[in-house]
């Protein structure tokens, strides 16, 4: 389970889930650093907060609510399984959530590489001078070998850290995943310090920004920027990759200019992933490199 998650479903509103955190301090830290989605995201939605097993005193509850309100998210109900917290919530006049809060599907996260971010002027020149993305056609139909699975990065589970009180591995803290089930329309932006998953389309004019990977379960037709902060291992994947521009870390690319049938009647290319190879953005059909 990740430390913090934001889950949205069209009929159930949005849930800010900090139940993966061990202490109040952790929750506040993660909350303040992670809640940086564009304010349009919160408008008109039904926002709830899940505190899990965290034990909070009344002033700590007020603190958490203040952080959320600071970014425009006003939790209308709060879920908790801790009796002390229930009392603190009632003292703050907060409505207790009824039923079961939404939860994330199980997710395996890659360890992040931390690099210093440097602006890359070359990339901007290239894109305006006409160099385009190269398609990795030779590997289209290779099947995954068993060694791919053995090479998969270790998953460090929150349960282990609970017992030991410190990270089981020395990897940097697990990034949160922002999981949105909606279509993003032109003019809407989402930015997130972690992995980003959109179940829906991303229309032209919409922008996605993430420090981790970007996954679109739908058509990506807008602009996506993954690996902000220098994470060159970040990937962008979509069921239909037809973006205006793709950016990974410092590199920018746009889809090929060659005359293609512009409209939906074209035979789709299927799900594709864009990743940085030797400093250039490449698109391939392989799920895992």
């Amino acid at each position: 389970m990740s430390k913090i998650a934001i889950i949205s479903q069209p009929d159930q509103g949005v849930l800010i889930d900090v139940s993966g955190c061990n202490t109040m301090q952790e929750a506040s830290e993660h909350l303040s650093s992670t809640l940086q989605v564009s304010s349009q995201f919160w408008k008109g939605s039904n926002v709830a907060l899940n505190l899990g097993r965290l034990e909070l005193a009344p002033q700590q509850v007020a603190q958490v609510l203040a952080i959320a309100k600071g970014v425009g998210a006003n939790p209308q109900q709060v879920f908790t399984s801790n009796e002390t917290t229930k009392v603190s919530l009632m003292q703050n006049n907060v409505k207790l959530g009824d039923g079961v809060p939404m939860s994330l599907p199980n997710v395996s996260l890659d360890a992040q590489l931390q690099h210093d971010f440097e602006a890359d002027e070359e990339a901007v020149d290239e894109i305006s001078s006409g160099k385009t993305v190269e398609e990795d056609v030779t590997h289209l139909y290779e099947t995954q070998e068993s060694q791919d699975i053995a090479d998969a990065p270790e998953v460090s589970l929150a349960e282990e850290t609970d017992e030991k009180g410190e990270s089981a591995t020395k990897s940097p803290p697990l990034p949160a995943v922002l999981y949105l089930r909606q279509t993003l329309r032109s003019g809407q932006t989402v930015s997130h310090k972690g992995h980003l998953v959109i179940v829906g389309d991303v229309n032209p004019g919409a922008e996605l920004m993430a420090e981790g990977d970007i996954t679109v379960w739908g058509a990506l037709r807008g602009i996506a920027h993954a690996g902000i902060g220098g994470n060159v291992g970040a990937e962008i994947r979509a069921l239909k990759l037809q973006p205006i521009q793709i950016r990974i870390a410092h590199a920018i690319a746009r889809s090929p200019d060659k005359p293609q049938v512009k409209f939906a009647s074209q035979k789709g290319a299927g799900p594709e992933t864009a990743r940085l190879v030797d400093g250039k953005i490449r698109i391939s059909k392989r799920n895992i490199e």
């Binding site: 008109g44 329309r185 389309d201 032209p204 939906a264 009647s265």
Partner: protein, 272 residues
């Protein structure tokens, strides 16, 4: 009896909001309903020209809002249809002349007097648009089958979605489509547009040179049904009233010399 307040908007300019407002208004009035047309394009008013009423305007919307006249005095009755009235915009002011609260009040007043209040929104996403949707419960988004118009329509739909507590229903009208270009893959098809916008379709209006004539004459095409665009607007009005009207068959006719002659004599000859 509380009327329906419908705003016609698009984001992009020049896609046919004012034309659609005039024609939908006339078509609704032809079915017997009482209709008020409201021009919210303050400073650049056009709806009065399309309706042919520009020389009958005495007071306008800004006069009503600033209480220099009563609402009744500003409403201009249509030349041909007594159940259709126009509330014109001001030509000498600009969009800052009214605010959302004033609009909400005005819409509340108009709702009590008319079965349909059709509001023509200006282009853009700023205060003009915000004022136009302030009192509305429904919206019609107009777009042409072009990437730029669709992009702007998408933005507008996003803004309408964010107000789902006020605006309960919004639907799409695709305007100025050319079936022959669509067939040659030179123009987006209805499905292409719907794939990006994913919103309920209210109607499709074909490109029609009759619109230009009607604008200059001040007689909206939907007054009669002998033009293809007029027929499309009349169908839209019927769908607004709840009827289930099948979409016109817009396949380009076979361009034989015979069919072209037939079309010359009867422009609305629609093949089934």
């Amino acid at each position: 009896m509380s009327g329906r307040v419908i705003t016609i908007t698009s984001g992009k300019g020049g896609v046919g909001k004012t034309t659609a407002s005039a024609n939908i208004g006339v078509a609704l009035a032809s079915t017997g309903a009482s209709v008020a047309l409201v021009d919210m394009d303050i400073g650049l008013r056009n709806l009065d020209i399309l309706m042919g009423l520009e020389n009958r305007v005495v007071y306008n919307l800004v006069d009503v809002v600033e209480e220099r006249c009563k609402l009744r005095q500003a409403l201009v009755k249509d030349k041909k249809m007594p159940n259709l009235s126009l509330l014109p915009a001001a030509q000498t002011r600009d969009k800052t002349a009214v605010n959302s609260d004033q609009m909400k009040q005005l819409c509340a007043e108009l709702k009590e007097l008319f079965e349909f209040v059709v509001i023509d929104s200006p282009a853009g996403i700023e205060s003009g648009f915000q004022n136009a949707i302030a009192g509305a419960e429904e919206a019609i988004v107009i777009t042409t089958p072009e990437m730029s118009a669709v992009r702007d329509a998408d933005r507008i739909i996003g803004l309408l979605e964010a107000r789902k507590d006020e605006i309960q229903e919004y639907r799409l009208v695709i305007n100025r489509i050319r079936p022959s270009m669509v067939k040659n893959n030179d123009m987006m098809s209805v499905d292409d547009v719907l794939e990006i916008l994913s919103v309920k379709l209210l109607g499709v209006v074909p490109e029609d040179s009759e619109i230009i004539t009607s604008t200059n004459k001040g007689e909206p095409v939907s007054g009669t049904d002998n033009t293809r665009s007029g027929l499309a607007f009349r169908n839209i009005a019927r769908r607004l009233r709840g009827e289930d009207v099948p979409f016109m068959d817009l396949d380009p006719q076979n361009s034989t010399w015979f069919s072209r002659i037939v079309q010359f004599f009867n422009p609305a000859a629609v093949r089934v």
